[in-house]
Structures are given as structure tokens and as C-alpha cells.
């Protein structure tokens, strides 16, 4: 079971102008762990994820990756960091100008300097893994939302990341497509991938997560095992929030 801290966050703060979005966030993600982050809209979940791979630069506190302070990273170390932390977005963000296969090949070829053949082989095996090998040569626009998100996951996997960050990966999907994406994510978790997932899919969190973090107003108000979090949350705001999403 997990023993090595992969990501450590220490008194993390993020302000946009006067707007304090993250306040004194502490947390540790061990290698192989799956963390689910829940919380009301606007509470800072996305910002928190984006601070982890430094798409946003924290305005206070520290983010350590494998024990190294990311604040001291140079531009090239930052790209290396991002290469090792894959990210999957709510709106998929596939490159519409490239085919599915090219979407998967681009970063391995440009960043890892893989040969075209190598990258293509790898891409095909990943597409197989998410069940979309027959879609290799089409453009993303002709895929359903669920298929696009599976391609996006495969694209992130093509870089062999240590961690995958998911920002509400299923909330832009029609209900009938949520399952196929969650299934892929479940498979990843079972294979030992470290994951930080912002999601409101209680079923997924219960089944897969090692820990659930509840965020509100820029604070992490509670960290708990999934069963404890959903059945008897300690924090009043968490209680309120969970009763609402279970009620619906």
C-alpha cells in the first residue's frame, strides 16, 4: 500500500487580485492513492488542481513533488513536472485540428522525442485500452462526449504520468455516457495509478477513493474515508452538502 508521498501541499494559498480562492490548504497524496475532492461550486476545487501542476502559480505556501519544492522550478523543470502529471479536463480539450491518433502522438513525439512508429504503437495500445482503436483516424468533433473524454484520458496516459488529475471529468457528459468514462477511470485506479479526482460521482468515490476531501470557501474542511465522509461527515458544511447531493 502507499507509503511514499508523491505530492505534498503545505499552507497553499491562491489569490486572484483581492479574491482569496485557496486558504491554508494542507494535504498529502501518496503514490498509488486515489483522492476524490468534493465541494460546492466556486469553492476552489479546480484552482486547487491547477496549482498542483502549476497551471496556476500559488501566491503562498508550498507544493512539493517527490519532495522537491516546485516554486524553485525553472521553466524546463516545470514542463517536465507537467509531463509527469497528466490532466483530464471537464471539457475534454482535445485538439480539434488533429486526428485522434495525432492527439495521442503529439506530446510523446515532441516532448519525449519518440519516433513516429513508437508513438503510433503506443497510441494504438492506449486507444485499445479505452476501447476506441477504431476511431484512431477520425477528428475529435465526430466523437460523442464520452468517447472524447476517453481519448483525452488516453492522451494523458501517453506521457506515462506518475499522477493523473481529473477536473470533473464526467460533469459535461450526457448521463448515459458517464459510465463508460468512470469504468476507464476505475480500471486505471485498479492498475495502481495515483489520481486526484474532482467529482460529484458518489458511487465512484465510494468504490475507488482512498480518501475524500471536502472543500468549501477555499478551505479543506474535512478529509475522511469515503464511507465515513458520506455516511457520517463530521463538518457541518460537509453534512449539509452531502445531504443535498445524496438527496437529488
Amino acid at each position: 500500500m502507499p507509503d511514499k508521498p508523491l505530492i505534498k501541499v503545505d499552507k497553499l494559498e491562491k489569490k486572484f487580485g483581492d479574491n482569496e480562492v485557496l486558504k491554508e490548504i494542507d494535504g498529502t497524496v501518496m503514490a498509488g492513492q486515489v483522492i476524490c475532492v468534493i465541494g460546492p461550486s466556486g469553492s476552489g476545487k479546480s484552482t486547487f488542481l491547477r496549482c498542483l501542476n502549476l497551471l496556476e502559480h500559488p501566491t503562498g505556501g508550498k507544493v512539493y513533488f517527490e519532495g522537491k519544492d516546485t516554486e524553485t522550478f525553472t521553466e524546463s523543470e516545470l514542463t517536465t513536472l507537467r509531463e509527469r502529471m497528466g490532466m483530464v479536463f471537464q471539457s475534454f480539450n482535445l485538439f480539434p485540428n488533429l486526428t485522434v491518433l495525432e492527439n495521442l502522438k503529439l506530446a510523446p513525439m515532441r516532448v519525449k522525442k519518440m519516433s513516429d512508429q513508437e508513438a503510433a504503437d503506443k497510441a494504438m495500445s492506449l486507444l485499445k485500452r479505452v476501447g476506441l482503436e477504431e476511431k484512431a483516424d477520425v477528428y475529435p468533433a465526430s466523437l460523442s462526449g464520452g468517447q472524447q473524454q476517453r481519448v483525452a484520458i488516453a492522451r494523458a496516459l501517453a506521457m506515462d504520468p506518475e499522477v493523473l488529475l481529473f477536473d470533473e471529468p464526467t460533469s459535461a457528459l450526457d448521463p448515459e455516457m458517464v459510465g463508460e468514462v468512470l469504468a476507464v477511470m476505475k480500471g486505471l485506479a485498479e492498475s495502481g495509478m495515483t489520481m486526484v479526482v474532482v467529482t460529484h460521482e458518489m458511487g465512484f468515490a465510494r468504490e475507488v477513493a482512498d480518501e475524500v476531501w471536502f472543500m468549501a470557501d477555499g478551505y479543506i474542511l474535512e478529509k475522511n474515508k469515503p464511507d465515513d465522509m458520506f455516511n457520517h461527515p463530521q463538518n457541518e458544511r460537509a453534512k449539509d452538502f452531502i445531504s443535498k447531493i445524496i438527496g437529488q
Partner: protein
């Protein structure tokens, strides 16, 4: 902060430009005091370059000779004799009348000869040879008005047309009581104004007036009754200041021409050309002129749009760069170019930059139009880049792609697709706007149009033909672009 930085850069740029202009003026003055080697230089070169505006028959105009267009006329014959006397070869550079004096001032040409009157104000900027021909002043009127306007005094309180900035213009203004003087750049336009009764008479040199009445049965003329100083009213050659020895050598040839009454013979020769020339004034007869014009117009626009897109991309990327200096340079460039007229830029590249490197007119035109287009394309591309969803940049960053790779493989391809219609419009507008290069003598469609108008004495028809040609080109181009736009949409 940003705005201030921008201002500083603009100030620096303006400063550099004024320095540049200062430097460009400096040598002209220096040569005035230095030992005069103008004659020796011509002999060493073995050529004498004449700047002229060949839309002024019988002084200078273009004709078709053995299927090739050629500049002929009295001025050309006189200059041929001068060249022969000097023992050098004659090279003729054609350009708009506004440009011929600048051409000698900036060393683009050795002599400007285009039926130029040596007025006192012109004498301040160039040296003049002796007067080589004094044709006298006349008025051109409509034949239907012959009874009404018998002489100059009948023109009081009437509308009189004349070429802007010429002797005829100033004379009409100062010597005809109560007259309204309407100035235009070209005699062809003025004649059209006369025939459509926008003006009642036209102040014009006698030889030109004679050429017009010979070729147009609707026109008539009478001689003026101005009392004129012979030294100011004739035509002379203009040379760069401080060309004393060359002027002296040229004056010798002019003296011979006067003694042997060669000018009248040259005029008669020019008249013969004009007869041949006006024999067939159908536009079809002039198709090779228009074709050549279309060719140059397309060449200039196509090359300029390519370089414009390259430059525009670089400028747009500079605007997105983290480096404040690159950003400021790009902003300053774009603002400066968009804030000055294309015509001025064309003149600046040809005459201004031409002092440092001698650029041919076509190349100057292409450079100026490309530099201009680059600034506009930069803004289009910037808009295109901004129109690409932010998620795309984030997704490529999250994969570890560098900024450059992300731009190249993800953002720019999408940006270009979004701005394809705008780029197409830019190309279409370049085809129209590049017509300005005709002022430095690039033989584009507008230039050819003016040649044909001067040759045929037909004011409207050539304009109509050029208009139709421009329309056909841009119409076809728009269809082609739309087709590809549709195909690109399909590809997604």
C-alpha cells in the same frame, strides 16, 4: 506601466526615423560644397538615368513598337542626343510626375525630364538646365464653346482646370480675374472634366493642346495672352543640386538643339507616333497593357500577402512573448504602420531607404506593401490566437509541450483556420490597395490604365475596363477562398 512603455518605444521609433531622414538629407547638402564630380561620375558609369512620367504627349508617352511598349516623345529624343554627346547610354525610368524630382534629389535618377517648368520654388531643391523648349501657353475648350470663349479675357469668372502645382495652375489663379481654378494630377483627368463641363477651359502647354485637338474632334484651343518671363515658362531638365559640370555639358547639347531647331523636328516625330498610336483606340487594341498590369498587380499582391502573413505571424507571436522588449517593438511597429498611409510608406521605401540600398521600383513596392500588410495581418492573427479556446493552451501545457510547440502544433493551426476568411479579405484588399505602387513607376494595372488614357485620349473607357478587371479578379478570388473555407470546415 504598459502604456508608458509603449509611449517610450514610440518616441524612440520616431526619433530613429527622424535621424534617418536627417541622414538622408545630409549628403545632398554636402555634395553641393564638395568638388563637383557629377559629369565625371556619369562618364564613369557609362549611363545617364532619366526619370520621366510618360503620360504627357507629345513630351513623353508610351507606344507599342514591334509588340513592345516603349517611351517616346520630344523629351526622350532630346535626352538621347544629350546622352550621345556625353558618350553614354540612356536609361529611362518611368514614374509618376510627383516622383520625378524626388528621384533626382535622392539619386534614383541623374536627370528628371518630364516637361518640367523651372519655377523658383523648384529651383530651391534641384538644379536646372537651360530651357530646352518653350511651347507657350494655351487654353483647351470644348468645340461647342468656340463662339463663347474667343480669348483669355472671356474666361474671367469661369472655372478653369490645370494640373496641380504647375505653372498653368498658378497663372490661371493669379492672372485671370475671378476665375475658379480646379487642380487635378493628370491632364487626362482634366480633359475629361472639360468634356463633361465640370470646367470651362483648361490651362495647358501649347504642344499638348495641339496634340489633343488633333486627336479629339470635340476640342478646340486658343493661345493665352499671358506676359511671361521666358526663363520660367519653358521646360528644363532637373538635376541634383551641385551638378554644375553635368549641367554645363547638358547645356552645350541644348544650345546645339536650339541652333539647329531640332526641337521642332522631334515634335514632328512625336506627332507621327501619336497618329499611329491613336489610329486604333479600342480597348482590345491595348489588351497587352492591361494584361501586363494585371500580371504585376497579381505578383505584388500575392508575394506581399505571403510575406505579410509571415511577418504578421512573427509580430503576433512577439506580442504574446514574455519579453517586454519584443512586445513593445511589435506594438510600436504595428501602431506606426497602421498609423501612416501606404502611399507614404511606398515613397519612403523607394526614395528614403533607396539612399542606402538602391532598390528597384518593383522590389520597393513589394517590400512596402508586405511591410504594411504584415502589420494588419499581425492584428488578424492576434485575434485568431485569442479566439482559440484557453483550454487548448492548458491541455498542451498539461502534456508538457513547450510554449513554442503548443503555438506551432495546436494554437496557430486553429487560429489560422479561424482567420482564413479575414486573411482572404486582406488579400482581396491588397489587390486593390497595391495600386498605389504605380506612383513609383511599377507597371501595375493603375499605371497601365494611366498610360492607356494618355495614349488614347479616352478618359472614361480605360477606367471602366480597369474597374471591370479589378472586379473580375477579386470576384474570382473571393469564390476560390470561399470554396477552400468550405472545404476546411468539412475537414473537421
Amino acid at each position: 506601466m504598459k502604456v508608458q512603455g509603449k509611449k517610450v518605444i514610440l518616441a524612440i521609433l520616431t526619433f530613429c526615423l527622424s535621424l534617418f531622414v536627417l541622414f538622408s538629407i545630409q549628403p545632398t547638402h554636402q555634395t553641393a560644397y564638395a568638388a563637383d564630380q557629377s559629369l565625371q561620375r556619369i562618364k564613369q558609369k557609362g549611363t545617364i538615368v532619366m526619370a520621366t512620367s510618360p503620360d504627357y504627349p507629345p513630351y513623353e508617352f508610351e507606344v507599342q513598337k514591334n509588340g513592345k511598349s516603349q517611351i517616346v516623345g520630344m523629351d526622350v529624343d532630346i535626352m538621347k542626343k544629350v546622352a550621345k554627346d556625353l558618350g553614354v547610354k540612356l536609361v529611362i525610368k518611368s514614374m509618376s510626375f510627383d516622383s520625378v524630382l524626388v528621384a533626382v534629389e535622392t539619386g534614383k535618377a541623374d536627370v528628371a525630364m518630364s516637361g518640367i517648368n523651372p519655377t523658383p520654388s523648384r529651383r530651391q531643391s534641384v538644379d536646372f538646365s537651360e530651357i530646352y523648349y518653350n511651347g507657350g501657353q494655351s487654353f483647351l475648350i470644348n468645340k461647342t464653346d468656340v463662339a463663347k470663349y474667343k480669348n483669355q479675357s472671356a474666361l474671367a469668372h469661369k472655372k478653369i482646370g490645370a494640373q496641380t502645382g504647375t505653372l498653368q495652375y498658378n497663372l490661371a489663379k493669379s492672372k485671370i480675374p475671378g476665375a475658379t481654378v480646379k487642380g487635378m494630377d493628370k491632364n487626362t483627368d482634366l480633359v475629361l472634366a472639360l468634356k463633361t463641363h465640370k470646367v470651362d477651359a483648361l490651362g495647358i502647354e501649347t504642344p499638348s493642346a495641339e496634340a489633343y485637338i488633333k486627336n479629339d474632334p470635340d476640342l478646340a484651343m486658343f493661345k493665352s495672352s499671358y506676359h511671361l518671363n521666358k526663363n520660367e515658362t519653358g521646360s528644363a531638365m532637373a538635376l541634383k543640386k551641385g551638378s554644375g559640370t553635368l549641367v554645363a555639358a547638358i547645356n552645350k547639347s541644348i544650345d546645339q538643339i536650339k541652333q539647329q531647331h531640332l526641337a521642332n523636328q522631334y515634335l514632328a516625330d512625336a506627332g507621327k507616333y501619336m497618329k499611329v498610336n491613336t489610329h486604333n483606340t479600342s480597348m482590345w487594341h491595348y489588351r497587352s497593357y492591361f494584361l501586363k498590369g494585371v500580371e504585376y498587380t497579381l505578383i505584388i499582391s500575392a508575394i506581399s500577402v505571403i510575406f505579410g502573413v509571415l511577418l504578421g505571424t512573427i509580430l503576433a507571436l512577439m506580442r504574446f512573448s514574455k519579453s517586454k522588449i519584443l512586445h513593445a517593438i511589435a506594438v510600436a511597429y504595428i501602431e506606426f504602420v497602421r498609423g501612416t498611409p501606404l502611399m507614404v510608406q511606398v515613397l519612403f521605401v523607394y526614395f528614403g531607404v533607396g539612399i542606402i540600398i538602391n532598390l528597384p521600383a518593383l522590389l520597393s513596392g513589394i517590400i512596402a506593401v508586405s511591410l504594411n500588410s504584415g502589420a494588419y495581418v499581425a492584428e488578424i492573427i492576434r485575434g485568431g490566437i485569442n479566439s482559440v479556446d484557453k483550454g487548448q493552451t492548458e491541455a498542451s501545457a498539461s502534456l508538457g509541450l513547450t510554449k513554442g510547440d503548443s503555438m506551432r502544433y495546436v494554437i496557430l493551426p486553429q487560429a489560422l483556420k479561424n482567420i482564413w476568411p479575414a486573411l482572404g479579405n486582406e488579400f482581396v484588399s491588397l489587390i486593390k490597395e497595391s495600386s498605389i505602387v504605380s506612383i513609383i513607376g511599377v507597371t501595375d494595372l493603375i499605371y497601365q490604365l494611366n498610360i492607356v488614357r494618355a495614349d488614347t485620349y479616352r478618359g472614361v473607357m480605360p477606367v471602366f475596363v480597369a474597374m471591370i478587371i479589378y472586379f473580375i479578379i477579386t470576384f474570382i478570388l473571393t469564390r476560390v477562398l470561399n470554396y477552400y473555407e468550405g472545404r476546411m470546415k468539412h475537414a473537421r
